[in-house]
């Protein structure tokens, strides 16, 4: 890029042009220019444009018309939106702790030298690289109401077939199972890395002292994992609030809208009903919710983590 200019400078034949390229300001901006261009176009511009769209009646096809705060006002009185928020909250409240404590237990179990450990770890990590679409399809088949293996096994034990994804009172809980399976490995990786950062002596002391192993874990190791737990709570919550892929592939928000979570609802608004302005207003509210939740979690977490250390 500026190599030719540089060589000239170093060999002492500095012309004006060379000095221009050697300046830190120019070099800096040359280095960042591709990133600035692309992040500007696909990162910054859409954020601002989205804010404008959220004040518009925008059908995606023709240009929008300004409607002020109408989208945000409509949102307050939209029972479908309120219901989708409730479902998202139920999902998040189940998904985050189950994944978190499940991963903690699994990470502790995996954090030792055993025969076959490589196999166990591969088994736990493999879902992480499996696409959400494939995960969704696999579980649709496992939990198929008519021919799925889970129902066939239940039948053998005299339990009648369940609707699972096709039963409005079960579908959302089944989605929790699918996503916990898909996310567990990620959380385990993070916990394992943190556990391996804890001095070996502490782990061994806790393990040898068999009588109080359980208490030692919660008193010694768990507090040391505080920052990791905090990160995972924040990260898992952010992703839980954005749940979409599995819903789209498995239930399309059904049955009877029982799995229409907030991001699926805004997707429907934008691309099924062409209410892009309204959809974007919802998206901004989700963003705001994520920001507030993250700040609250960090504040509470910092306090807890601080007290224990």
């Amino acid at each position: 890029m500026t190599g030719a200019g540089r060589e000239a400078v170093s060999s002492g034949r500095a012309s004006l042009r060379d000095r221009f390229f050697a300046s830190d300001h120019v070099a800096g901006w040359l280095f960042v220019s591709p990133a600035v261009l692309l992040i500007g176009l696909f990162g910054v511009a859409p954020i601002i444009w989205a804010l404008i769209i959220s004040f518009q009646n925008n059908s995606l096809i023709t240009g929008g018309t300004w409607v002020g705060l109408a989208n945000y006002r409509h949102l307050l009185h939209d029972p479908m939106f309120a219901a989708s928020v409730r479902r998202t909250v139920v999902y998040t409240v189940l998904f985050v702790p189950i994944t978190l404590f499940g991963a903690l237990a699994v990470a502790v179990a995996l954090n030792r030298r055993l025969r076959g450990m490589r196999f166990y770890r591969t088994a736990v990590f493999a879902p992480v690289v499996t696409s959400t679409v494939a995960t969704a399809i696999m579980f649709s088949w496992l939990l198929d109401p008519y021919f799925g293996i889970v129902n066939l096994v239940l039948n053998k034990f005299g339990v009648p077939s369940q609707g699972f994804f096709q039963n409005p009172s079960q579908a959302l809980y089944c989605i929790v199972i699918v996503t916990v399976w898909g996310w567990l490995g990620f959380a385990v990786v993070i916990y394992l890395a943190a556990l391996q950062g804890i001095p070996r002596e502490l782990l061994e002391a806790a393990e040898i002292d068999g009588a109080t192993r359980w208490r030692a874990f919660w008193r010694v190791q768990f507090p040391l994992l505080g920052p990791t737990t905090l990160f995972l709570v924040v990260w898992l919550s952010i992703n839980a609030l954005q749940l979409f892929d599995e819903i789209y592939v498995i239930t399309r928000g059904g049955p009877l809208a029982s799995t229409t979570v907030v991001v699926y609802y805004l997707f429907q608004q934008a691309f099924a009903f062409f209410q892009a302005g309204y959809a974007t207003a919802i998206a901004y509210v989700v963003f705001l919710a994520i920001l507030v939740l993250t700040v609250v979690q960090l504040l509470i977490g910092r306090k807890l983590v601080h007290y224990r250390s």
Partner: protein, 292 residues
């Protein structure tokens, strides 16, 4: 970061020294297996059932019991009924472009933000940090309008363009460049190397782990991305594997063995890469957790 060794490395017999706690356990099967075996079975069962079903006939798949059919015709049928080869090619082209582009441009930007003091660099870094926090749903509609304005809707470049430089990559690499000692770079510069030469010849070779993290995370996201292709692509010939798989399942809901065969073939490339490079994958995920 470099201290994290999860995976095959800590299983080598050579690592287990006399006096090590593990020594006493080596010949006595640990009780942990009682918990770990069921765990592994639960995690692997969906994959196992996926493969078993893909080798069955429709009739076999609907009755209880293990029918280890060897009906490879499902695979042949899946590949003749849907252009999986084409989708695989599309996904590979898009992912490869995005990964290479991120490695190059995130390195350049991350290096400049960490090392070069230039006008506006502080503000620029804050702006990039801000975009990192915004969820995709917020920018989904305007991004579609921008891509449409560029005339890229329903083309492969539409899938590449928004991800060519990710704020995550810039941020992560900047953090790592910051932690590197400056002295080596200064020595190279005194020897007459330019900024670019220093970056390419001196700095990047010692940044393999963070570069691998950016490469692997970008690959995973792009390869498995679903929402953006769903919005940006309409014609079947421009589908990615995930989008194609979703429509394939939608079109053959009653023929689960066929759908399973399609699913297996779409997941094999990433699973193979993962098993071969598991240590790097795990390290990348952990890095994302600690820095992201």
């Amino acid at each position: 970061m470099s201290e994290i060794v999860i995976g095959p490395k800590d299983l080598r017999p050579a690592d287990i020294r006399p006096g090590d706690l593990a020594e006493s356990r080596r010949w006595v099967p640990s009780a942990w297996h009682l918990a770990l075996i069921p765990l592994a079975l639960v995690m692997l069962f969906p994959f196992f059932w996926l493969v078993v079903t893909s080798l069955q006939t429709v009739a076999q798949s609907r009755t209880f019991g293990l029918h280890f059919g060897l009906q490879f015709h499902n695979y042949v049928d899946a590949w003749t009924q849907a252009p999986f080869g084409r989708w695989l090619l599309n996904t590979t082209v898009v992912s490869a472009t995005v990964v290479v582009s991120n490695l190059v441009f995130c390195s350049l930007a991350g290096y400049a933000l960490a090392r070069i003091r230039f006008f506006g660099s502080g503000a620029l870094f804050l702006v990039i940090l801000a975009t990192l926090m915004v969820p995709f749903q917020v920018v989904m509609v305007p991004t579609l309008l921008i891509v449409r304005g560029l005339g890229l809707v329903d083309t492969l470049p539409a899938l590449m363009a928004p991800n060519l430089v990710t704020p995550f990559g810039v941020f992560l690499l900047r953090q790592f460049f910051k932690t590197m000692p400056v002295e080596i770079e200064e020595a190279a510069r005194i020897d007459g190397a330019g900024r670019l030469g220093t970056l390419v010849k001196v700095v990047l070779p010692s940044m393999r782990a963070p570069l691998a993290t950016v490469g692997i995370m970008t690959l995973l996201w792009t390869w498995n991305d679903f929402l953006w292709p769903l919005i940006a692509i309409q014609s079947e010939k421009h589908f990615t594997l995930q989008l194609g798989l979703m429509t394939f399942q939608g079109a053959h809901t009653i023929n689960w063995p066929l759908v399973m065969a399609g699913t297996v073939t779409t997941q094999i490339p990433m699973l193979v890469i993962f098993i071969v490079a598991q240590r790097w994958f795990v390290q990348s995920l952990a890095t994302q957790g600690l820095k992201g």
